[in-house]
Symmetry: C2
Subunit: 406 residues, 2 copies
């Protein structure tokens, strides 16, 4: 067993926390914005300084490769550099920086690997600027229609395609991640939940990623002056949506206790204090490991009353993902490595989506989690002590080196 | 009794409906935007063509005056040219256009009035771009702090002061509407409610404007990843606000049946489908003629639970207005005029706020309503048949001429 450098890892985390710094302990680093381009440039600079060759594919996924001693497929690690609005300094970027630290350790320690070692930064994982999430691992694995993705717009009406072409990181389609070129893909990530901390575990080896569905709900009322319409004659889309949200909570809370669901996005019109709302839209995100429970969620959605407080209610599935199971041999190898390192651990399923769940379709994949303080994520309070990041990185390093011998 | 011209009035309504045309039967004509400046220019052009002198004061209120034969204070009429987002072609502008038609009838019929006749367009009545509503009648009557108003910002961060100075309509403070210069102010407006139509009345003479309070409510949760936090550990600000809205409906519905209340404005953060909402804000607008009922509303607000679903709930009064009673002599004169014209009418109180309620503080004032089809207002469906507009205009004309003789 060999260890990577805690000091170097700390420096990487510190450096990247500046790109999109909100001033409140977090970052806003949306896909192809200036802070995200700064993070890409720093990643490229550091990889090239280690003698790695950096390529980008046609959707700006970045691949930094250290040559191996034999003509073999590469062992890859990575995650993403973008964040949600007012996100933290660990979600995504830690998977890139631990990959980089693994490569740096290999170089600095003079280790010769048989397989090439590749560190990957996937484009637009969060989907916070251009929906959906995990867009570019999804494009290259055929999960999403490419033309639809190119037309995806941000809130200012800029398309993904326009931002991609302006980014300077659009490369050749021939550079895309392909099954024949890679032996394995590993993604280290923060847990983004409270389980590891609550159970006092240092690391998690993931068996897979839970399935999910995402729906939108729309209520339509009648805009009218706030002061002149008697209450019984009103059609208030916001009051109607209030009833929809309460209905969802009442019914979904009857299902399995491990089910999670979130109404995270909401908007409406005309959104003026003196006017009755006539249009409200929300999203419902719902996740569970068991497809049977997800089916029950969809049954609840189908049973939502078609009218609430006189306003029509409509819904539409936006996307869905089945539960993904990672490669048993890689999961086993990672578990053996954690045991040898003597860290406490558990095997669990991820609640959040990750690029690795798409990559798992074409190349054997696995994931590692490190704990999140208080379970906070997708917020500025997101934090993992460097000691924990370093231990996760050591698991990643030694799993990669063990696989390199096979 | 003399009548104004239905054709000319129709032409005015038609012409002004082009400024900010949404293409769906309505307009978006926010204060000092291009469409609103076009409406101002057209108003000025038409007034000057009638030989009226047009002045603006330091907050861009516009005053177009036809000379009288004697050195007497003016009789004024008017309303506003701005609209809400996706508003209609009658709210506000009809009060300016009927004033203009009264002046045009006086000119075209060769009538000599003893008093000067002034048509006024008040700036930023809706408050849809720069809050609050009725800003500039409020400034000149001392209802609002001028420095605070100047700093009021639109959603892009532009201040009212900046937009005012760029408008080209900022004039001298000495041109402001003053008590000594005016004998009376009349405002004709659409009802913006269903009462006149339901009761088959052609016109309303207003006894006053009901009082109101406007509060904001804020819930604060904890942003976190949608997939990883067990439901019992969540603090969801949107779910908390849902409970606040339901509480308000449950409690306010127990009060007098003529009470109206509206949660019209709503926003939140981070507003991403994969993140639990941590901040939601709504406004509550509530109106009733009886101050005792408004007091009961405030009691309900004070009793809203301080925490909902684990999220702190806070509230704050944004503004309040007492019930305003119009000048009894003018109300009586208008009522006599309607009777002589033979139109069906009722005396009622306005539910919406109007510039006349501020002006009533310094000069005797009164208002007229014409019916709104289906009660629709503050929306693109807002409509009043020209026949009804014309009858209201005839009441305005003959009331002004009757007052001129006194």
């Amino acid at each position: 067993m060999i260890n990577c450098s805690k000091e170097r890892l700390q420096d990487k985390i510190q450096t990247f926390s500046q790109f999109g710094d909100t001033g409140n302990g977090g970052i806003t680093r949306l896909c192809f914005t200036e802070p995200e381009l700064q993070a890409r440039a720093e990643f490229k600079r550091r990889c090239e300084a280690l003698g790695m060759e950096v390529k980008t594919d046609d959707v700006a996924n970045m691949y930094a490769t250290l040559k191996g001693t034999e003509d073999l497929p590469a062992i890859a690690m990575g995650s993403h550099l973008d964040s949600v609005i007012k996100g933290g300094n660990y979600d995504g970027v830690l998977g890139v920086l631990t990959g980089l630290e693994v490569a740096e350790t290999i170089v600095k320690e003079g280790i010769k690997t048989r397989h090439p070692i590749t560190v990957i930064a996937w484009t637009n994982e969060e989907g916070s600027r251009f929906g959906p999430a995990m867009m570019c691992s999804g494009i290259i694995t055929g999960k999403f229609d490419e033309a639809t993705m190119m037309a995806s717009k941000d809130k200012e009406g800029v398309t993904f395609k326009e931002a991609l072409e302006a980014s300077g990181y659009k490369g050749n389609q021939s550079n895309r991640f392909k099954a024949d070129d890679y032996k394995a893909f590993f993604e280290l990530h923060i847990e983004q939940g409270p389980v590891l901390e609550a159970e006092g575990k240092e690391v998690a080896v993931l068996g897979g990623v839970v399935g999910m569905v995402n729906y939108e709900f729309i209520t339509r009322g009648q805009a009218n002056h706030a002061g002149t319409i008697p209450m019984p004659m009103r059609k208030d889309a916001l009051y109607a949506m209030t009833a929809v949200i309460q209905y969802l909570h009442d019914e979904l809370d009857k299902l399995d206790s491990k089910l999670v669901y979130t109404t995270g996005e909401f908007s409406g019109a005309p959104n003026v204090h003196t006017v009755i709302p006539d249009y409200v839209r929300i999203t419902l995100d719902s996740r569970h490991q068991d497809p049977e429970v997800i089916k029950q969620v969809v049954d609840v959605i189908h049973a939502v009353p078609k009218e609430m407080h006189g306003c029509p209610v409509t819904y539409r599935e936006q996307w869905a993902r089945n539960t993904v199971h990672f490669d048993p041999a890689l999961v086993n190898l990672a578990e053996e490595t954690v045991k040898e390192l003597g860290y406490s651990y558990k095997v669990m399923y991820a609640g959040a989506g990750h690029d690795a769940q798409f990559i798992a379709d074409i190349v054997p994949s696995a994931m590692l989690f490190v704990p999140s303080d208080t379970g906070y994520s997708h917020c500025e309070k997101e934090h993992t002590p460097v000691e924990q990041c370093w231990k996760g990185c050591n698991v990643l390093l030694n799993t990669v080196l063990a696989l390199d011998k096979k």
